[in-house]
Amino acid sequence: MTWKANRLALRQGSLFPLCASTVAGVVIITPVLVVLWRSLTSGKLGFTVGLNATNYLRVFADKDIWPMLSNSIVYAGGSALLGTGLGGLLAWIVARTNTPGKGLVELMPLYPLLMPPIMKNIAWILLLAPKSGILNGMLEQFLGITYPVFNAFTMAGMIWVFGIACVPLGYLFLLPVFISFDPSLEESAYIAGSRPVHTMLKITFPLAIPAFISAFVLNFLRALRSFETPVLQGTPGDIKVFVSRVYDSMALEFNTGLATAYSVVLVVISALTLYFYVRATRFSERYATITGKGYRVRVIDIGPWKYVTFAAVCLYFLAGIAIPFVVLIVVSIIPFFDYDTFMSFPSHMGLNNYRTVLRHGSFINGLRNSVLLSVVIALITVFTGIVMAFTIHRTRAVGTKIFEFIGTLPLAFPPLVLSVGLVIIFVGTPLYNSLWALGLGLFVAYFPYAFRNASGAIVNIHKELDEAAWVHGARWRHVFFKITLPILKPAVGGALFYIFIEAIRNVDVAVLLTAPGLEYGPVTLFEYFRVGQWAEASAGGVIYLIILIVAVSVAKLAFRVKFSL
């Protein structure tokens, strides 16, 4: 970079976003560095001895990790591909086609986000279990098929359940791209004689690649470190995944250092996927779909296919939330689950499970704390994520690509490992056992989602918009608040929604950071899932889902939150 360029960068006042990103980066990387340091000490908690590489030597000597890693990569890759691909397709349907019932269709792919993955796991196990599953039972009862066609305890079953859970993230990442699409790019193709399907495949979808990869990377890393699906579905099917080594190190050996050493393998995989992402999007202007020219996004008339796309969205809605939700509702009103009782539920109905849940004093008290904290964390995290993405893609400071890695790093660590780092930092300070510590923990845990979302979206804004402002003497704040932020509005709305929903049900990070006496909603609500009381868990889940569905619908109407056109 020349001295002239540096002076220009200084004149633009890029120092604030750079400093803000640096501070955020340091907050994020500190717990990571603490656990990494810890991995260089051998011995269990309480017996720390000097620095050495024993944990890493154990990891390298572990012959079982290769088959586990290959299982993990198949599972994470399959889930991320299914989730992101389906999410992208739904985003395109909602944003670019004349599919009927826009208001409803826009929200349908989002509602499944409200259902926590563990609830989906349980519902799909009840549906797909080989001997006692509802679907296999129906096939036997109505079609006489005795062979178990469906099996939840297989790799395909795992990919299906987690992949379906990955769809909303893909949808939220790709929707803003399709919404803010400059139609001149497609019009050029039409003028050149291209047919709509061809244009879609050759122009529209390739331009969404950065956001697609961004969502894919996130979903891939989420799946890679996810624990519920491998435990509930993988273990009974003898499918061992890598993350179980991390958890065994914590649960059996109580050895944070070893758990971190195993997590470093995940960090390496994350770094490789990020490197791939950075390489793929290095010529960001190629993917800019939002340019300086005035335009109105063109909705494609897909003719009678619009009914097919409508049916596709409804199908996803059915698989993503309606069917599992109905299963949970039935399970919550019957005394116990087996196929016969499930099918004859009207004669077994009762509200005992609801009474049990509503008598749970911590349920409502805890929910108050978590709602408040989740709103604040979502706002701060999303804003900081955009600032960091802006620093990387829009300021002229050199070396900012490191933030790509730092901003995504927490995602490589299983939550329990990450929260140990946070506890080590906070213990002995006034922050320990306070809502501040919990808030910072949630910030670190969810920053990658906000950041990757902003990063994927910002790449799609052509630099000419900023450059026009720079030429007219604008400083960073003018560019950021007057140009970037307003254009990113749909992405911001989606990210706020996503992080709020994720934070409000967080248990893994929160559990070590909540103070004695501090009731925190998710910890108490999901206790039923944790202790395996599925009937009570279903009742709690149904109440929780109804509250969220009503809250989201009211918020959408009251504040006119808009995720699409």
């Binding site: 980066g25 720390t48 279990a129 109580f254 050199v398 329990l416």
Partner: protein
Amino acid sequence: MHRKSTMVTAIALSASFFFGAALAAEKAPTKEAAKETVKAPAAPAKKPGGQQVKKETGSAAATANAAKAYAQASAELYPKAKQEGNLVVYSVWDVEHLRVITEAFMKRYPGIKATFWQGRNPEIVTRALTEFQGGQASFDVVLSDNAPPVIRAAGAIMDYNTVQREVLYLHDPNMATVSLQVQALAFNTKKIKPADLPKSWEEVASPKYKGMIALDDPMRAGPLSSMLAGLKTQWKDDARLNNFIRNLKALGVPVHKSTSAMFRLVISGEYAICMPALLHDVMEEMHKGTPVNYVKTVPPVVFPRQAGIYIKAPNPNAAKLFAEWLISDEGQRTTDSIGRETSRNDFKSKTSIESAYGKTMKPLPVTDQQFLEDPKSWLDKYVKPIWEG
């Protein structure tokens, strides 16, 4: 380049500041922990503490003695505990159960404010030992099953021998056993006839049960590994134990890392036999009319649930009072009311061994010190070579 160096410097300075602070927070305690470390490993060797003493039946005299000793301890501890004013409990028990327990305790002993934090065993151990290494006087009692012995092995539990030891089914001279975890061989009554059921734990490994059994993962610190530890102590025959593990492995049945999820799958009819289930879960389901039952001829595995007092407890008297109260008649009644098994041999409840299995039943207690304090090394030594070999 100027900008690049500014960027690098900014990151380096901020990182060194934050990371330095974090390391400082870790470093100071580590020094302290190093001192503890010297003592810690020696603790179990110094005291044969933690050795579980089994006393299956009580006597009227023992009950009277225990009541008298509790009254005396209560009179001594309460004024001091009241002065301390607080009690912080870390526990694996359900939040609602902890709420009932702490409220009953506060009602019995006004002036003491009891709060709790709930987590799973790995979370409890992680939090407690991180605080211990950080020199924090942050909590008073760990109320759990697997966690207290592990925390004690790190030197973070204070020795406390309960005054009511005479009436305990399983007594540990260093920690109060306030409840028992009882594991039963459960089955789905729709899926298997009583005549076809296994008559012993060993018979479960018979090939005829292949495809019918849900097995807890023997390579985790869970119910099945506890049972293996109990069988090892009882059989005193390693060849027999190895054969049992080998036969279980030969069944080629799925293993589960979540005992509760496994039990739900037995209820749903996915499996016929649950190896093993928690007795209070089975009883609760039977009460609801669920088609499950347990084999009354197979000895239940008994694992202690203890109240370990933290070595740096800010309110040690309140902690001792709480442990004593939990073992007292009132405490046991409260424990029974939330569906948890009591620890006294003179307390009658539906989940007591005597009422669930009859007077003649000889349960299988888990008393292996190495298993309780370091389950990983025990499993590596006795189970892994056969299970994964």
